[in-house]
Amino acid sequence: MNTFPQLANIGAGSTDTSVGFQYTLQSPVSEMNIPRPMRDQEPSTIVNTDAGTLQMECKVRLPPLAKARTARQAISSLPNEIWEGTVQSVDEKARIMSAIMEPMLQQSISRHSANISLDYVVQQDLPLVRPGAVFYLTIFTEKKRTSIQNAEEIRFRRMPAWSKAHIKKIQNDAVVLLDCIEG
């Protein structure tokens, strides 16, 4: 008997897993909702709390232009190629990662190696950069209201951290694996 919850318990309903055609029409979320920090200004925010007003200093540093381009929510976009890369080594001093990349869309293109500056990795992904890490280098075109632009982005793959349940499963499996080998 399968010990997992049975489908019958979750009731009948639609089994349609398709969706209507979707592409975004609105302006990029980041433009709408994230306040644009001004380079020459010392921004500050006044927050009203129950205890009274509180003035907070919010210094924000813009990323360097032409590097670390965060993925923009284009009105429409088309990937020309998505390269799945695996980091082979990282030179922290030179801020370069070496990777082997494999194309996801055009299988006729073979694997390639390359060195990539960490300046092109978005800030939140920098802690993920290590040997074995996987990233996606997407070469794409994005169409905004009146123009079409070429763009590239690098995003690192995120997986859940190891859990106690995982560790236990690994330990049990390791014992079984050892038994697969004589000696």
Binding site: S14, T15, S18, V29, A74, R155, R157
Partner: protein, 232 residues
């Protein structure tokens, strides 16, 4: 060039029993499925909703819509495997979620530069001869608006061998001379092997099939358009 693709979108739909309230940006960030900047964007988005009945999150790269019976992850920025990875991560964290089905969806919009070629596609997929007789008025234009083809295992007239299927849809685009094509790869979780959770089966489908179906979708669409233009 008669036509070219101009938009690709991808999304994943999972049917089952979910608790939408779990899917907060805090939970996703704590479990390392999103980064701190993504979490910040989500929290400050005006589309941000987390309730017991529905959760909607939107970052620069994905949108997540979770209802009690449905999970849907879509690409908001350029389409990519990050929604696959996000969904696999979610299923890994919630291994006991009862699931009914999973669908891998890919949509491409094509822009035609040649109106003859554009009309040839519609005329080949939906021949107009019957409609012309029915409508009978030469001053009225008849055109294909939407077509849906389902492909199942097994022969016509027999019971399908499995509930899995592929569905290809063709829609007239919102703009002139555009055609939108959708591809749905549908899998249902019935008769799973002993000891296999539906979430495991779903992760296996995502791991083994997402990339392959992305390629198949593009090839299928190109083939349909190419054959339609050649036939007319």
């Amino acid at each position: 060039m008669l036509y070219q693709p101009e938009i690709l979108s991808a999304n994943i739909v999972v049917l089952g029993a979910f608790n939408p309230a779990i899917f907060s940006p805090d939970w996703l960030e704590l479990n390392q499925l999103i980064g701190p900047d993504d979490a910040k964007v989500i929290r400050s988005s005006e589309n941000f909703v987390v309730t017991r009945q529905v959760t909607q999150l939107e970052s620069e790269t994905f949108r997540l819509l979770v209802e009690e019976s449905k999970y849907q992850a879509s690409c908001t920025g350029v389409a990519g495997p990050h929604i696959r990875d996000l969904t696999m991560g979610v299923l890994e964290l919630l291994p006991h979620t009862p699931l009914r089905a999973i669908g891998l969806n890919f949509d491409i919009q094509y822009r035609f530069h040649d109106s003859d070629a554009y009309h040839k596609v519609g005329d080949a997929l939906a021949p107009k001869s019957i409609w012309l007789q029915v409508v009978g008025d030469p001053d009225r234009a008849i055109g294909l608006e939407q077509l849906r083809i389902i492909v199942q295992d097994g022969k016509r007239g027999e019971e399908p061998k499995s509930p899995n299927s592929k569905t290809i849809s063709v829609h007239r685009g919102g703009n002139t001379l555009t055609i939108r094509m959708s591809y749905n790869d549908h899998h249902e979780f019935v008769d799973l092997p002993e000891g296999t959770a539906a979430t495991e089966a779903a992760m296996e489908i995502l791991k083994e099939h997402w990339q392959e179906q992305l390629q198949v979708a593009g090839q299928t669409f190109s083939q349909v358009i190419g054959l339609a233009i050649a036939e007319s």
